[in-house]
Amino acid sequence: MTTLADPLVRLDRISKHFGEGETRVDALRAVSLEVHPGEVVALLGPSGSGKTTLLNVIGCILDPSSGSMELDGELVLKDGAWLRRDLKRLRLDKIGFIFQFHNLIPFLDATDNVALVLQLAGADATTAHERAIGLLKYLEVDHRRQAMPAKLSGGEAQRVAIARALANKPRIILADEPTAALDSKRAAIVMDLLRRVAVEQQAAIIAVTHDEKIFDRFDRIFSLRDGWLESETNSLQTA
C-alpha cells in the first residue's frame, strides 16, 4: 500500500546497544523504517530480537545509541541526541501505549483510568469524564465504566487500556503484544478496533505480536532478528 501522506514515524539508522565490551548486546542495528497515517504494522521476531527495544525508542522512553527519528513531521532525535527536552509532553500529546498486560492504575475505576490522561493533558474534570465515557462506549465497555481494574475480565481491561491509549487522540499508537492475553475472538475484536482507529483518526499503529492468527490484519509486517530489520512483507499482497 502506498500513500502520499508524509510518514508519521520515520526511523533513520537507529542503533541501540546495552553494556560495553564482553557484555555488550546490540539490541538494534541501523534500523530504518517508515509508518504512514492509517497504517497498522506488526513487529515480528524471535525473543530477544529487539522488538520491545524498538517500540521503546519510538515511544521516546529509551535513548538510542545513534540514529535519527522523526515523529509526526517533527525531528525529535538527531544522531542519537534528543532535540526535545519535554519528552513526557510529547508522549502525552502524540503517543498512546497499549501494554501486553493492561497496566491500568488499580486504584482508579475504568472511567477515571481514561479520564486521568485527559486531565494530565489539560482537560477539566467534567470534560475529561464525559469524553472518557464516550471512549468507553466507542470500545463497547461502557457498561463496566465504574468497575475497578481488578474486577474486569482480560478483554474488558484491554479495551479500557486501549481507550486510555486513544484518549488524547494520539497519532502514533504503540502496542506490545496487545492480544497475547486474549482468546482469538477477543484478539480479533481488538485488532478490528485498532484498524478502525487507524482509519478514522489517520493514526499509525505499531504492534509487537507473536500471534499468527492475526497476521492477516496488518498492512505490513517488519521482521527483526538479532537487532537487524530483516524483511518487510506486505501482508495484503501475500493474502
Binding site: 520491545t52 515511544g59 522512553i61 513526557k88 508522549r91 501505549f97 501494554f99 497496566n103 486504584f107 494530565l120
Partner: protein, 377 residues
Amino acid sequence: MNLAYRDIRHNLGRFLLTCVGLGLLLGVVLAMIGIYRGLVVDALTIARAPGVDLWVVEANTRGPFAEASRIPGDLREAVARIAGVASAGSITYQTVESEHRGGKLRLYVIGYEPTRPGGPPEITEGRGIARSHYELVADRSTGLTLGDRIQLGRSTFSVVGLTRYQVNSGGDPAIYITLPDAQKLQFDLAPPAARVQLARGTSGSSRDTVNTVVARLQPNASPDAVAETVRRWKHLAAITQQAQELILTRSLVDRARRQIGLFTSLLLAVSAVIIALIIYTMTMEKLRQIATLKLIGAPDRTIVGMIVQQALALGFIGFGIGAMLIVSIKDYFPRRVVLEPDNVLALGFVVFAVCLAASGLGVRAALRIDPASALGG
C-alpha cells in the same frame, strides 16, 4: 483527581490499620515524654507546695529533700524576726507505711503548722485541718476518701480533706498532719534506744526538731540577702527556692530523668526509622504503577505530590490517633503523665519532618524508575 486520596480510598482498610499501628507507636513516644515531664514536675511538687522563697536547713546540708536535715523547731520564731521575712513555718517530712483496706500504703507525711506556710496548696474536697490533733489532709492518689480513718504510729487519724498531685520524688502520695502530730509520729516510730534518749531529753536532742523552716519574704526583699543573714548563724544553711528546685532536678531525680530521657530519645529514633520504612515500602509497592503514570505522561510533580501527600496523611492521622489515645488514658497511669501542648507540638513537628524525609527517599526511587519498566515482557 487526587491520586493520593484515590489510592488511600482503594486500600482504606490497610491504610487505616497502618495509621493505627503508627498511632500506637507515637502514643508510646508521647507517653514517655509525658512520664519524663511528670517525673520532673513530681520532683518539684513538694518543694513548690508551700509557695515559699527560702528554705532554712541544717548546716552543710542540702536538705530537706536531697539530704537529711534536723534543726530545732523553735528556730522558726528567730527566722520570722529576720528583716525581710513576711512569714515562716516549720515543716517535717517522713515516709511512713500504714495499712488501709487490707493493703500496705506508703505515705509521705508532711507535718506543718496550720496557720503558717507549709500546708497543702489546695483543698479539692472537704476542708483543711482545723483541730490540732488527729486530722489529716490526703492526696487523692492515696485512695483515701473523706471520713476514712487510718492508723499512723500509735494514733488514729481521720481524713478531713483531699488535695491532688501532691507526691514526693519517689511517687509516694503525701498526707498533711499538724506539726505536733508529726513530731509524735517521729517519736513513735523511732528505734527504741533513740526513743529512750529522746524521752530523757539527753545528748542535746529534743522532741521539738523539724526538718526545715520555710520562709515567705516581703515583696521587696532579696532571697539571696536574707539567705546570707541566715547563714551567719551557726548550724544553719539557707537555700533559696530557685536553688532548691535546681537541687531537686539536678541531683535527686537526675539519674531517673536521664534514664527516661535516653530511653525517650531511643524510642523517638526507632519511631523515625519505622515511619521511614513504612513510607518507603508504600512507595516501592507502587513503583510499577508509578512507571505506568510516567509512561502515559504524568509530570513529576503529580507523582511527587502523590507520595508526599500520602506520607503526610499517614503521619498526621497516626499522630492524631496517638495523641488522642494518650490524652484519654494518661490519668490511669500510676504516676503523673504531664503533656504540655508544646511537647505535643514538638513531636508533631518531628513526625512531620520524618515523613517528609522518608517520602524524599520514596520520591527518589520513584523519579529514578524507568517508564519502560511498565511495559514489561
